[in-house]
């Protein structure tokens, strides 16, 4: 997850004053989370790249509406996610997104990091398989909140729903995800 350095508000203030170098730094800083968020929504890396790029350009044009002291990530992610949804709508279909484990975390490998030590490789694969198999709504909220590591506010912005709805939707999605594990365990 990208950090929120103390100079963030200064960066936005400079960008608002027309400092394009500051805005380029903003793009550099947030392009990963923006791209991945768009990828989760569109299911296509190419569409995600275009949506993120369009989003950053729109955000630049709208810098005047960004309130000093506000959280920039939800603001940016909302714009980028809107672009991503527009692409899905205009295309009339969504690419099927199936997230995969990175090669180094595939089952059978030695655990290379503290994170991987927490969850055994096989458990990770099974868990991700079940996330992939969730309904679109459940998958989006769980992926946004946990795999993209967005805050509740950011998830709400990315999904275009109120933060309260994120909580309730997440709760239901987690329950359904637990249920699938229970079924596997009993099988």
């Amino acid at each position: 997850m990208e950090g929120r350095p103390k100079d963030e508000s200064d960066l936005f203030a400079r960008a608002q004053r027309g400092d394009t170098a500051a805005y380029e730094e903003i793009v550099q800083r947030y392009q990963m989370v923006a791209f991945r968020t768009a990828y989760v929504i569109t299911g296509s890396a190419a569409d995600a790249e275009e949506a993120a790029q369009d989003g950053f350009v729109k955000a630049y044009r709208a810098l005047g509406s960004f309130r000093s002291g506000a959280e920039p990530r939800p603001w940016l992610l909302k714009i980028v996610a809107n672009e991503a949804r527009n692409r899905v709508r205009s295309a009339g279909r969504r690419h099927h997104l199936e997230l995969r484990l990175a090669e180094r975390f595939r089952p059978g490998d030695a655990a290379p990091s503290p994170e991987a030590e927490v969850v055994a490789a096989e458990d990770s694969r099974r868990l991700l398989d079940r996330v992939n198999a969730l309904s679109e709504e459940d998958r989006l909220v769980i992926t946004s909140r946990y795999l993209l590591e967005l805050s509740g506010e950011e998830t709400a912005a990315a999904l275009g729903i109120p933060e309260g709805t994120v909580k309730s939707r997440l709760s239901r999605a987690l329950a359904r995800l637990r249920g699938t594990f229970g079924e596997v365990s009993r099988a």
Binding site: R17, Q31, F35, Y60, R61, G64, E115, V119, L174
Partner: protein, 259 residues
């Protein structure tokens, strides 16, 4: 089964995400070309500007603009952008004034007032407007746009860009979402001022473009429409734009007579 949420959190570091492309160069080149010709170009006003603005865009891409100032108004963000080259207006096409300038439909002051929710202010200094135009959504601003045309007035030369002495355009600015902008050339000066308690800007000098982002988020360009001296005021949330070959004193006098 271990707790699910920690497992999901741990899973985040293991996902095989596609490589994040470097968006900086593409974004940089796009924001360096501020004349955006998107949105609804079927409208007459925008169609009028299209050909010249496309040429202008080509010229602007070669330059790196820098923002001169961003000023927060009570209701509207005014956004000035300093550029090295300002597009040259194309000659006005023949035809009725409203059509040439894309002002909307011709109407009366009373009808315009009836059709919009806000109070249309009129500068008594200029007398009754010679023509009144109304543009409603989707071609106009979110809550409509009213233009008062003053064909010829003593001591105010007719502007070549419009063929009239003064245009007074009014549109309602929605809270936060709107910003009006001017793309300013090197010879253009901007001065913030207050007229009868209304904050505003006096923009004078060489040609400048005008654009704004309406309440629906649509980017609207009015490039080439009128590029003479301009006084912009926020009159209680209504943006009043007074444009023409005016001196500052004349513009202030007109603005002070708004009622």
């Amino acid at each position: 089964m271990p707790e699910l949420e920690p497992q999901l959190t741990a899973l985040a570091a293991q996902i095989d995400w596609p490589a994040t492309p470097n968006l900086v160069p593409a974004v940089r080149s796009r924001i360096a070309a501020p004349v955006m010709l998107r949105a609804t170009w079927y409208q007459s006003r925008w169609a009028l500007a299209a050909a010249a603005a496309v040429i202008a865009l080509t010229a602007l891409v070669a330059y790196q603009p820098s923002r001169e100032a961003v000023a927060d108004w009570v209701n509207v963000h005014v956004f000035f952008q300093r550029v090295h080259v300002v597009p040259t207006p194309s000659p006005l096409p023949p035809g009725p004034l409203g059509q040439r300038l894309g002002l909307g439909g011709k109407t009366t002051l009373a009808d315009a007032q009836h059709q919009v929710s806000w109070h249309v202010t009129v500068p008594s200094k200029l007398g009754d407007p010679d023509e009144v135009y109304l543009q409603l959504p989707p071609t106009g601003s979110a809550q409509g746009e009213v233009t008062l045309v003053y064909s010829k007035r003593p001591d105010i030369p007719v502007a070549g860009e419009t063929g009239v002495s003064v245009l007074v355009t009014e549109a309602r600015g929605a809270v936060d979402r709107n910003f009006f902008g001017k793309m300013l050339g090197p010879g253009t000066t901007v001065e913030d001022l207050t007229v009868a308690g209304h904050r505003g800007y006096w923009i004078a000098g060489s040609l400048h473009d005008f654009y704004f982002n309406d309440a629906n988020g649509s980017f609207r360009g009015e490039t080439m429409r009128l590029a003479t001296n301009t006084l912009i005021l926020d009159v209680g949330g209504t943006i009043v734009r007074i444009e023409g070959n005016l001196t500052k004193a004349q513009a202030l006098e007109i603005a002070a007579s708004l009622h």
